[in-house]
Chain length 346, copies 2
Amino acid sequence: MDELTIKDVAKECGVGISTVSRALNNHPDISPETKKKIMGVIKETGYIPNNSARNLKRTDARCIAVLIKGITNPFFSSIIQIVETQVQKKKYAMVIQHVDAYENELDVALQLVKEKRLRGIIFLGGAYQHDKRKVEKLKVPFVFCTIGTVHETGKKTYSNIAVNDRLESRRMVDYLLDLGHRRIAIITEGTEAESVGQLRLEGYKDALAARGIAIDERLIYEVEDEQDPYSMESGYATARKLLDSEVDFTAVFAIADFLAVGVCRALHEAGKRIPEDVSVAGYDGITIGEFYTPQLTTIKQPIGKMAEKTIKLLFDVIEGKSGHEHIYFPAELVERESTGKPNISE
Amino acid sequence: MDELTIKDVAKECGVGISTVSRALNNHPDISPETKKKIMGVIKETGYIPNNSARNLKRTDARCIAVLIKGITNPFFSSIIQIVETQVQKKKYAMVIQHVDAYENELDVALQLVKEKRLRGIIFLGGAYQHDKRKVEKLKVPFVFCTIGTVHETGKKTYSNIAVNDRLESRRMVDYLLDLGHRRIAIITEGTEAESVGQLRLEGYKDALAARGIAIDERLIYEVEDEQDPYSMESGYATARKLLDSEVDFTAVFAIADFLAVGVCRALHEAGKRIPEDVSVAGYDGITIGEFYTPQLTTIKQPIGKMAEKTIKLLFDVIEGKSGHEHIYFPAELVERESTGKPNISE
DNA sequence: TAGCTGTCCGGAATCGTTACCAAGAAACAA
DNA sequence: TTGTTTCTTGGTAACGATTCCGGACAGCTA
């Protein structure tokens, strides 16, 4: 009585276990009546097949996994929703696996592939540095989404969906320069090459260089919060340091909207008006930017379209309809209340 | 060559498979040299044990699961972090399972217990209505966290950690009444009895009743967004309806901080000043309330303490050190910028 | 009636691992 | 030397499902 198995169901129905299995898996070789009877007993007894045992033998499982690194990212829930509806349309199952900050997502994926029979994997967030060996070992097709730049030369072994961070970042800084700003502080994150923060910082430097404006290192700030770098708290703390430094600036470009919110708060408390005294620009295009006062000027990533492309691409590869691709989506610069022309009297 | 199994490792090492198994599971009955040799081969070949097969046979697994319903809830990531550190201290593993909006979390739990050998479960968010039969079937100890009220008479079969929503809600309304407000609109969610929204609405009614103020149904609003009811968007939309109704009010109590942010935005756009023209109060105590302009007056739930108690209680029950408990934590009313005395001239 | 075909079902092998048992080797006491 | 204990090891039976194979039976054809 401890655990209900397929054997118990078979005995209860007076049939063999293979017949019960056939009923469970929609096999054709079973008469409608027996199937109906078996399903009735299953429902009545509340029998649930043991998935470990199933996976041990199965060959066809229609299942994909979504690996999430950094559950705080506000994009993820909307991406998951979109992916989920598509997955259901295809009659696939989907598992969501959280990856801890200190875990390597490829290791987790490797482990998961052993455990379940996956047909594909989607990586949300995470590293930009990929161990070639591990990638090769992972025989299942996979797509990175919103990870930033991924370099892969030659034949592509996986897909990548992202925004061109360097370019979009430059666009924002160009916009601020066009408004007349010359002393633009940037708040960024991450020192590793190819990290999202570094790419956006490159874009900032590109824009300044194109106009022959010298880089002032005193305007470049790196957040210090390692626990949760893209948080309002770290934006606030960094802005405080910027204010205390007494270096002149007329605009702040925070490379994430959450950081920008923290910056706004710090400026507000220091008695600075936005955008009259200081302009603030963000990056990401999350909901809070629309509802914050002042509304945030930002680079809005087309998350919905990126999510749709991600899942479509994954299925195309699974079904052999296409090969892997690295695609950059264009983002949109939305101009809202937090930016304006610099105050000339200042 | 397709899939590496324990057999391959055993052959490679020239030992029996049970010996390899012993090396893998830290069994005492193995000589240090053989173990070292086996571990070397495992590392070299990159062998990963098949977890499905393991779970099929194993009896001792030290693993707990966290089931999340509604990944958008901003509390969850901090709860998970706290739980995770404690779990690691105990040398347990932890799996996080996302539960879709339309799935029943108890069904998912039942399924998960079949699949892995869990020692305990934590439910984050989700239903307040529990199917007695399913609860009984779930033989593993479990704790609900931040779910709201749960009634269980007699011997407790599970634990519940929450804030007394009705009481705390009343406290907020009392505070608004003390400030002098008499026409307080409330924005709530959910019509099911015992739902978080209903409990907070009860608290609102309690406070008014205690002072003999009649309930004006025109001041009670229910959000309409079913997809994501606790969102800034739905707060905004509901506040718009409130404004359009042209019913008088001097304060708005939104039963979630996200809703309150949407309300603030709508009021701001309508040219109302906060708190001079209208006071706005929230509930939850999430970060954005601190960084929003104006800073939000709210009921701050002691999330950290609740998370710590949740995991401690779960382990205590697992280890037989204590029975299940239903505990209410006291919340804190934090008075910030969004509330003030009503404007008498109005 | 004999032979063939197709439908439906049960038995047994199998998946990769762990748990248990028995056995061999080594070490020690009598 | 012999018996007993301790350590280490390999073989084998589970675990709970799926899948393959063959058999029973009904229906049809010649």
